[in-house]
């Protein structure tokens, strides 16, 4: 018998498995409950790869549509949320593959503000950069441009492993890749990203003005934020 849980209002709340069973039997409202239950999670998974709200919404819609079509492949007893997350991450991966990839990236591709941010960052000692927690829109814009030059696989593993702290086994499970494939991808992704960063570092040697700004009190531009 399918388990049901009680919420604080002592109201019967059907669990995921029951909702899947009912959806497969043609109950339209059962799947809508799953959409409401996991819509926010899927939307924020999409947010790990795409900043634009429209893109996140598209990914969310695509994920639930794919999940509905593949509902018969969901194994009873497995976590529905995890099953859905795999579909969501793969939908993001498909979107990354569809996106046009930048071939090259140079200092000239940066806007004035982004270049100033980079110069100021590079004027600080490396140890301070490690300690820095403050995030800025300029840094995010530089990162977007830089990541857009990587292959979809490289971009995906860099974000999931280096930024989100997932293990190679977890990434392999999400993507249906072997652990060796994840490790090879990771090695190549780091090498590709570091190559671009080294080129950027050489090109963006901080000027003495930037050094002064970095050593002195916070710039007016930063204060304005």
């Amino acid at each position: 018998m399918v388990a049901e849980t009680r919420n604080s209002a002592s109201e019967l709340v059907p669990d995921d498995e029951e909702l899947v069973e009912r959806s497969l039997a043609g109950d339209a409202e059962a799947f809508e409950v799953l959409v409401k239950r996991y819509g926010r999670t899927v939307y924020n998974v999409a947010g790990r790869f795409f900043r634009q709200p429209e893109m996140r919404e598209d990914i969310t819609q695509e994920t639930f549509l794919k999940a509905y079509q593949a509902l018969h492949t969901y194994r009873r007893g497995a976590s529905f949320e995890r099953w859905l997350m795999k579909i969501a991450v793969n939908a993001c991966y498909d979107e990354l593959r569809r996106m046009k990839r930048r071939r090259e990236f140079s200092l000239a591709d940066l806007a004035e503000d982004e270049r100033v941010w980079l110069e100021e960052a590079l004027a600080k000692p490396a140890f301070e950069l490690f300690e820095q927690q403050q995030q800025s829109e300029d840094a995010a814009a530089v990162a977007e441009k830089l990541l857009a030059t990587l292959s979809p696989e490289d971009r995906l593993v860099m974000l999931l492993y280096e930024r989100d702290g997932l293990s190679t086994a977890e990434i392999g499970d999400l993507m249906g890749w072997s652990r060796s494939k994840v490790k090879i991808r990771l090695f190549r992704a780091r090498r590709a990203l570091d190559k671009r960063l080294r080129r950027l570092l050489r090109a963006a040697r901080p000027t003495s003005a930037a050094k002064a700004r970095a050593e002195g009190p916070p710039s007016r531009r930063a204060e304005g934020r």
Binding site: A28, F31, E32, V35, K36, G39, R40, Y43, N44, G47, R48, R51, P53, R56, E57, T60, Q61, F64, L65, Y68, Q69, A121, L122, P125, A126, F127, L129, F130, E131, Q132, Q135, S136, A139, A140, V142, A143, E144, L146, L147, M158, L159, Y161, E162, R163, G165, L193, D194, L197, R198, L200, L201
Partner: protein, 164 residues
């Protein structure tokens, strides 16, 4: 602390951040006097900063999104079910049917064309089809050789000699 130790720490920090205070101070002291490690640390720190900058806060989607997703799923449900293997089977069947029709048409056209050509010209057409142009040329001029003025005169001379 050696350069190797420092780089090992930095590699871990680039991903999870620094935690141990004593380790941090030892690495900091090393970086101050080792330009090579400082350069490498700068690269890893920049990589960390840029990747962290792409993080987004957990937010609630627009409430209308749930309704839109549900409506899309409902539309999907209204469509006839067409699973993957059925699609593959239907596609293969349509390819086989098309190939059979094309084959029948080709054979029919071939038979019809052959029937329309006089029997004397079929060899010529066959030679052309096989791209045997010298044979086709021979067949074209084969009849004309008999009506050639020289060959007619030659035949008359030979005939008069024989009658003598």
């Amino acid at each position: 602390m050696t350069c190797r130790d420092v780089r090992r720490h930095l590699m871990a920090w680039a991903r999870i951040g620094a935690e141990d205070r004593a380790e941090r101070e030892a690495v900091r002291a090393h970086l101050r006097q080792c330009p090579s490690c400082e350069e490498e640390a700068r690269l890893w720190a920049l990589r960390r900063m840029l990747l962290q900058a792409t993080r987004t806060d957990v937010v609630d989607p627009d409430p209308s999104l749930y309704a839109r997703v549900s409506a899309q799923v409902r539309r999907q449900r209204a469509r006839p079910v067409f699973p993957f293997w059925e699609a593959v089977r239907a596609f293969s069947a349509s390819i086989a049917l098309t190939a059979t029709i094309v084959l029948i048409l080709l054979v029919g056209v071939n038979i019809y064309v052959h029937q329309q050509i006089p029997s004397g010209r079929r060899d010529f057409v066959s030679a052309l089809m096989e791209r045997n142009f010298s044979e086709a040329e021979r067949l074209v001029f084969a009849g004309e050789e008999e009506l050639n003025q020289d060959s007619v005169l030659g035949a008359l001379v030979a005939e008069s000699r024989e009658s003598r």
